[in-house]
């Protein structure tokens, strides 16, 4: 028997393992959400133990995989910044008005140290509530946005 996933009436994901045993309330977690989101996904039990590990998602059969991806999409929140419309000040803390792939929003940047450089020109901006905003490629932003961002780097 292969591993299967189900969603119950309370909206929780349940894992049915190889022995047919059912584990309700599992949570999918990516091992490298930033550097290699496509590889390594674990299913964790509610008390924080690893129940299953997939090197790649295609190890799962289609229906379960769809459920898993759906659950990941619900849990993962990292808006991608498309443009920066303005900042309240060039010294921190300051408020940023940004346009993201999930709509326009405003957040507070507490300090310049909350902008983390990842490889390949990617940036990760953490706001005062711990939400991460991703800048996929700084060079691809429009000029005004780039100029604003550059002041903080």
């Amino acid at each position: 028997m292969t591993i299967r996933l189900e969603r119950d009436a309370h909206g929780q994901l349940a894992l049915i393992d190889r022995d047919g045993q059912r584990h309700p309330g599992v949570l999918p977690v990516r091992a490298f959400p930033l550097s290699a989101p496509g590889e390594g996904v674990a299913l964790m039990s509610t008390d924080g133990h690893e129940l299953a590990w997939f090197d790649r998602l295609d190890e799962l059969e289609a229906a379960s995989r769809a459920l898993l991806e759906d659950e990941l999409a619900r849990r993962e929140f990292m808006p991608q910044v498309r443009a920066i419309s303005g900042v309240s000040s060039f010294s921190t803390p300051c408020e940023w008005d940004v346009l993201t792939d999930r709509g326009a929003t405003r957040f507070t940047l507490r300090s310049e140290d909350d902008i983390r450089r990842l490889v390949g020109g990617r940036l990760l901006v953490t706001d005062s509530h711990g939400i991460h905003y991703e800048v996929v490629d700084m060079k691809k932003l429009d000029r005004p946005s780039r100029r604003i961002l550059d002041r903080f780097l």
Partner: protein, 756 residues
């Protein structure tokens, strides 16, 4: 159409469009209990929707204009589930069988969401048991549950959460540091002025020297000593005068400069010391060091030297212009030709220079970061033979530093010479125009030479003024980074209206304490009452939040929700340092400062006598090993105490905590770094010391907590069991499993020992 206005008024802070939409939907006597305007939709896109809890149902809509409001009557068995992950909170409404709906929001709204869920739980409980009584929440802040000041609805603790964007114009704000020295700065300014004025005398003397002595000589009149000496003496006097003034000025300003720098550094450092651990958690040591070290230096030089230079330059420019105009207005006008061009240039490069210098400063911070990272970690670097890689990292940081500097220098190096070129061209014009005027007998040769002499001074000023542009922008960049530190209000702020506790009995109450590091919830709903003098053992798996709980009690961080009270007073209402004096702390990783052993033991009470120090060391079982050191209590411990073993450091830190004779003793793995025999010794010492003090001890070796009055078991940020050892063993729960696992381990170790 007239809408029925509900008899019970809507909450004041409900946004307007929602008010209108909601007003028409409520029954006349339906009262809104709580509401939440979420900021995310189901697909996690930013958009607002509303969730309202009334005394009889839940109402929800995706937009104020929506016609399809959803409604769920309150019913037994209904509940809200709350989870948060990666900065997104989810409230899910369930009944006994299904999930009915979910709402998502960013953590900015977390307290509101939790309040709504709490309120909902209370209403549902009342359905089951209409007479259920609830803890009176009057007089508590609805957000953070801290007690509100009497006759005041605003919570002094929550108010500070709003960010205040710092003022711009960092340079002007520096005045605060120059102010105490304004007398001396004024003296310096006047001296500068006078010495520059003295410098203006010689060219003026050249006019008569030319026109009355030299030129008549060429036309046949002999030069007499009498005609010459007054001018020569005047020149000498002017030079001497300028020298004396210059000396006085430099001396005064150098002194002021050092003092301003020292003030700036100490103020910044003082402010830094007042910051919470949260602040330091997010900062790089090297960067802070660079700011306090190099940048304050640059600023003070700017304040005391360049700023004055600039002021005198402006004045001198003005004065020279007056002199020039008085000699010959037409020539003077020609002289001023390059000015507008230079002004325009300054305007264009100013911003580029400042942002450039800001970058240079930041990258310089990165260079020092590498140092601050690598040097303390040198053992690891060497153990893994990664010296090359660290060198590479340092070289890379340096390369980046070079690149950024190169970029600024390009702008700046072009700027200076361009100004010089412009002034040269200006000079050319003056020569041309002047010769033409001399040719037409409008002016004498002497006037022209004096003019040229003045003009070169004038242009020199202009030149140095334009050079100041770069220094100014450098200082502005530095000032901004200093004010970044100075403007950062501590996240563990001093109370606005402090309460002073003379005596502390040591009663600690935790009320639904929640805490998160960033977006990660580490503690949830922790309730605990600790009686004065009680010995509490905190146990739980690694990472369950024991140290975090202790950090909160120590007020290294402030709770995210709930409150901690000592003797009935919220700890946020007590002055931080005063409160911490009541607490003796022994940390998981003991840290010693560079200095002697005696200094380190007396760290919390520098006025302790030698006898007291020795008594504390004896109690901590450190006395004997200290005596075995070559210099006894006067031995140096090295940086971070690295010349001592882990266990020795640990015992010194115990002695340090004991010396302040605290009402509350916190031991975080105080005996983890010592062997079993020493542990037993320390344990015996501690047994005496905990008498009469409220003690919180964390230990992995559960056997060390056998004497505890109560054991508190934490699991993933929640208290799961509380009780005495025997009770908890009988309950066969979390504690039992922890204990048995250790027992088995001990037996296995013992068995191995027998075999070996």
């Amino acid at each position: 159409m007239t809408r029925a206005t509900p008899a019970v008024p809507l909450p004041d802070d409900l946004p307007l469009p929602w008010r209108d939409a909601l007003a028409g939907r409520l029954a006349p006597d339906e009262a809104v209990q709580a509401w939440l305007q979420t900021d995310l939709d189901a697909t996690l896109h930013f958009s607002a929707s509303l969730l309202v809890l009334t005394d009889r149902r839940l109402l929800a809509a995706d937009a104020p204009s929506a016609t399809d409001w959803q409604s769920w009557p309150l019913a037994a068995g209904q509940r809200f589930d709350h989870v948060d992950h990666a900065g997104v909170g989810t409230l899910a409404l369930h009944d006994a069988h299904h999930r009915l709906a979910t709402w998502r929001y960013t953590l900015a709204l977390n307290t509101e969401a939790l309040r709504l869920a709490d309120q909902h739980t209370r209403l549902i409980e009342r359905i089951a048991d209409p007479h259920a009584v609830h803890e009176d929440e009057d007089g508590l802040c609805p957000r953070c549950k801290a007690p509100l000041p009497p006759d005041d609805d605003e919570c002094p603790l929550c108010e500070r959460a709003t960010v205040k964007p710092p003022e711009t114009w960092a340079l002007l704000r520096l005045w605060r540091f120059a102010r105490p020295y304004r007398g001396r700065l004024l003296a310096g300014f006047l001296l500068t002025l006078a010495s520059t004025a003295a410098n203006l005398v010689p060219p003026y003397l050249t006019i008569p020297l030319m026109d009355k002595v030299l030129i008549p000589h060429q036309t046949g009149t002999r030069i007499t000593f009498d005609a010459v000496w007054p001018y020569m003496a005047g020149l000498l006097a002017a030079a001497l005068f300028a020298w004396a003034l210059g000396w006085a000025r430099t001396y005064i300003l150098a002194r002021v400069s050092e003092r301003i720098g020292a003030d700036l550094r100490t103020t910044t450092f003082d402010h830094l010391m007042g910051q919470s651990l949260e602040y330091f958690g997010g900062k790089r040591t090297g960067d802070l060091m660079a700011r306090i070290g190099a940048e304050t230096d640059r600023i003070n030089v700017f304040l005391s030297l360049h700023l004055l230079d600039f002021a005198t330059d402006v004045l001198m420019l003005f004065m020279t212009a007056v002199v020039l105009f008085s000699i010959n207005p037409w020539l003077a006008l020609v002289t001023l030709l390059p000015l507008p061009v230079i002004a325009w240039m300054i305007h264009t490069v100013r911003d580029r220079l400042r942002t450039g210098f800001e970058k240079v400063d930041r990258i310089w911070g990165e260079v020092t970061n590498v140092l601050a990272d690598t040097i303390p970690g040198i053992r690891v670097v060497k153990a893994f033979a990664q010296e090359k890689r660290e060198s590479e990292r340092f070289a890379a940081a340096n390369r980046r530093n070079l690149e950024t500097n190169d970029r600024v220098n390009r702008v700046w190096s072009l700027f200076g010479p361009t100004v010089t070129l412009l002034t040269e061209v200006g000079l050319l014009f003056v020569w041309g125009f002047g010769i033409w005027q001399v040719g037409n007998d409008h002016i004498t040769v002497g006037v022209l030479t004096a003019f040229i002499a003045y003009i070169s001074r004038f242009y020199l000023r202009l030149d140095s003024m334009s050079r100041i542009v770069s220094v100014t922008q450098k200082a502005a960049a530095g000032a901004k980074r200093i004010f970044d530190i100075l403007d950062h209000a501590s996240s563990v702020p001093e109370p606005a209206r402090p309460v002073h506790l003379e005596q502390v009995s040591g009663r600690i109450e935790l009320r639904s304490v929640g805490f998160r590091y960033g977006n990660r919830a580490v503690l949830r709903g922790v309730d605990l009452d600790i009686a004065p003098g009680e010995f509490i053992g905190l146990v739980g798996h690694s990472g369950s939040g024991k140290s975090t709980l202790v950090n909160l009690i120590n007020r290294f961080y402030d709770v995210s929700s709930g409150s901690i009270r000592i003797d009935g007073t919220d700890i946020r209402a007590l002055p931080v340092a005063e409160y911490r004096r009541h607490i003796g702390l022994v940390l998981q990783e003991p840290f010693l400062f560079f200095g002697t052993i005696a200094d380190n033991i007396a760290y919390g009470r520098p006025d302790a006598t030698r006898d007291e120090i020795i008594a504390a060391a004896r109690a901590a079982h450190a006395h004997e090993f200290i005596l075995r050191l070559p210099h006894g209590y006067d031995s140096m411990v090295g940086e971070r105490g690295q010349t001592l073993s882990g266990g020795e450091r640990q015992r010194i830190s115990i002695a340090r905590a004991l010396l302040i004779d605290p009402r509350i003793l916190i031991l975080d793995e105080a005996t983890s770094a010592v062997d079993t025999a020493t542990e037993k010794e320390i344990q015996r010492a501690l047994d005496n010391l905990v008498q009469g003090r409220t003690t919180l001890a964390i230990a992995h070796r559960l056997s060390t907590l056998r004497k505890a009055d109560r054991l508190v078991v934490l699991d993933r940020g929640q208290i799961v069991e509380v009780g005495q050892h025997d009770d908890l063993m009988a309950r066969e729960g979390h504690y039992y499993r922890l204990y048995m696992a250790q027992q088995r381990q001990a037996e296995a170790d013992a068995a191995e020992g027998v075999l070996a």
